[in-house]
């Protein structure tokens, strides 16, 4: 688990997957409105940070960062169904790049671990 970031291909893999993932979210009617940003570079940088984290790569986001960073989206109505969609598209993007289902499940688990913070909830008992 510790080396998942390297197993996936590290920085280069993130670079390759991030455009695929960003295209998928922009084209997905369920969630595209959360990702509209006139500054596409900035939006891409955020998504790269998210993928790096989901890959188990270097980051030091705290639960508080996650809450603060997504509070405006929660106000817009961000809920579990949208997080589900993001995790689904993340898996599809990794699959497009030939990543194994086993690794995809590990990435999804990391993304899942920040769900409550992203949605501004106290940690639920299962996590």
């Amino acid at each position: 688990m510790k080396n998942m970031f390297e197993a996936l291909g590290g920085e280069a893999a993130v670079e390759a997957v991030v455009d695929t993932f960003y295209r998928k979210v922009l084209l997905d009617e369920r969630i595209s409105h959360f990702f509209e940003d006139i500054d596409m570079e900035r939006q891409r940088t955020k998504q790269k940070a998210f993928l790096t984290m989901a890959f188990g790569g270097p980051h030091s986001y705290t639960g508080k960062d996650m809450k603060v960073g997504h509070a405006h989206l929660v106000k817009m109505g961000l809920n579990d169904s949208h997080v589900d969609a993001v995790i689904e598209l993340l898996g599809a993007s990794l699959s497009d790049h030939g990543i194994s289902q086993e690794l995809i499940a590990q990435v999804a688990a990391v993304a899942e671990s920040v769900r409550d913070d992203v949605l501004g909830r106290e940690a639920s008992p299962k996590s």
Binding site: D37, M40, T45, A49, G57, H59, S60, Y61
Partner: protein, 345 residues
């Protein structure tokens, strides 16, 4: 002990410490978020000294060339003099108007004496401030290796304060305060084999034509393709100049495009964005540069990306008009970036 100079103040960097940690230990507040070299919140620029390569990983080429780096992953091994990027305007000073020359229907070429310390890359823009404080940005139409002068193309915008002034009142010998340069639409030379695709509306063709000439002079091996869009044919004010060059430069191709006209050879008629999108399959390995009307630039950028062009290969410079669109735009632009307060250049 490594010494660090930040905006003129002195700090020391302990072994193993990052520039960000050293500055924070010294009481500085530096914007930061991920602290691991990803989010780019803590971008700084080194004026003196070499930063370790890993402190520039993932940065855009232009930022690398300007010695920008990420403070959170920078463990320096030599003394550095660094500045915050927001304040890092390369040049600010008076520039004198040397000539004012009409081009086509409603465009004025304004040529300035070039100060020796003003450095820029083809395709960038400068902000010009009049004595009373009125300021607007205009793209540079000339090339960096023309050292005596530089020029801009100013389109007359009805009720545009600065453009009306240039067109009606400006005199040879007048001085404006110029600051900059700014802008991402530059030829980097990193991908010489593949096409350079330049898409502009109005005076957007000015920086793009400079960029095209820069690419051709830099022995670019791929095609250089220009799509020049205007409402009507007579507004394609650089058409003759570019077409003359294109006749003896096989790599250069020029596509004049107008929204509505009767069909005729050599003229593309229709929506500029759609004309470009139709050509994407043949140009998909290229780097795309978009300058001009934000109503073209912003949506086309997104459509090119969705059509499969990597975001890092799309450079856009929307010419935001001074009012009221700029007020809207400024809300959507991060504080790291200067808002280009342009009239439709």
């Amino acid at each position: 002990m490594i010494e660090l100079d930040y905006d003129g103040r002195k700090f020391s960097v302990s072994p193993g410490e990052t520039v960000l940690e050293a500055l924070e230990r010294g009481g500085e507040k530096i914007p930061s978020s991920c602290r691991s070299g990803v989010c780019q919140s803590c971008l700084l620029r080194a004026e003196c000294g070499t930063v370790p390569r890993q402190a520039q990983a993932g940065l855009k080429e232009r930022l690398v060339n300007e010695n920008c780096f990420l403070a959170c992953v920078c463990r320096p091994d030599e003394n550095l003099k660094v500045v915050s990027v927001v304040d890092a305007v390369a040049f600010r000073g008076g520039v004198e108007i040397l000539s004012l020359d009409r081009m086509g229907l409603d465009v004025l070429a304004v040529t300035f004496k070039r100060p020796a310390t003003l450095r820029f890359e083809a395709g960038q823009f400068m902000t010009f401030e009049r004595g009373d404080g009125l300021s607007r940005s205009y793209s540079i139409a000339s090339l960096p290796d023309e050292t005596e002068t530089f020029n801009i193309h100013v389109r007359r915008v009805p009720q545009g304060k600065m453009s009306e002034w240039f067109h009606g009142k400006a005199q040879i010998g007048d001085t404006l305060i110029a600051s900059g340069p700014t802008g991402e639409c530059c030829y980097t030379g990193s991908d010489k084999k593949n096409p350079v695709v330049l898409i502009g509306t109005g005076t957007g063709v000015a920086p793009l034509w400079a960029l095209a000439r820069q690419a051709l002079r830099s022995d670019h091996m791929g095609d250089v393709v220009i799509f020049d869009g205007a409402l009507s044919e007579e507004r394609l004010y650089l058409r003759d100049e570019i077409q003359t060059q294109a006749t003896h430069l096989p790599k250069l191709s020029y596509h004049p495009c107008v929204l509505k006209a009767s069909e005729k050879p050599g003229l593309r008629v229709g929506d500029l964005g759609q004309i470009v999108l139709d050509e994407v399959p043949a140009l998909r390995l290229g780097t795309f540069y978009l300058c001009g009307d934000p109503n073209l630039v912003q949506p086309l950028r997104k459509k090119l990306f969705l059509a499969g062009i990597p975001l890092k290969k799309i450079f856009a410079d929307p010419f935001v008009s001074a009012a009221p669109a700029a007020a809207v735009a400024s809300k959507n632009v991060s504080s790291q970036e200067p808002v280009p307060l342009d009239e439709l250049r």
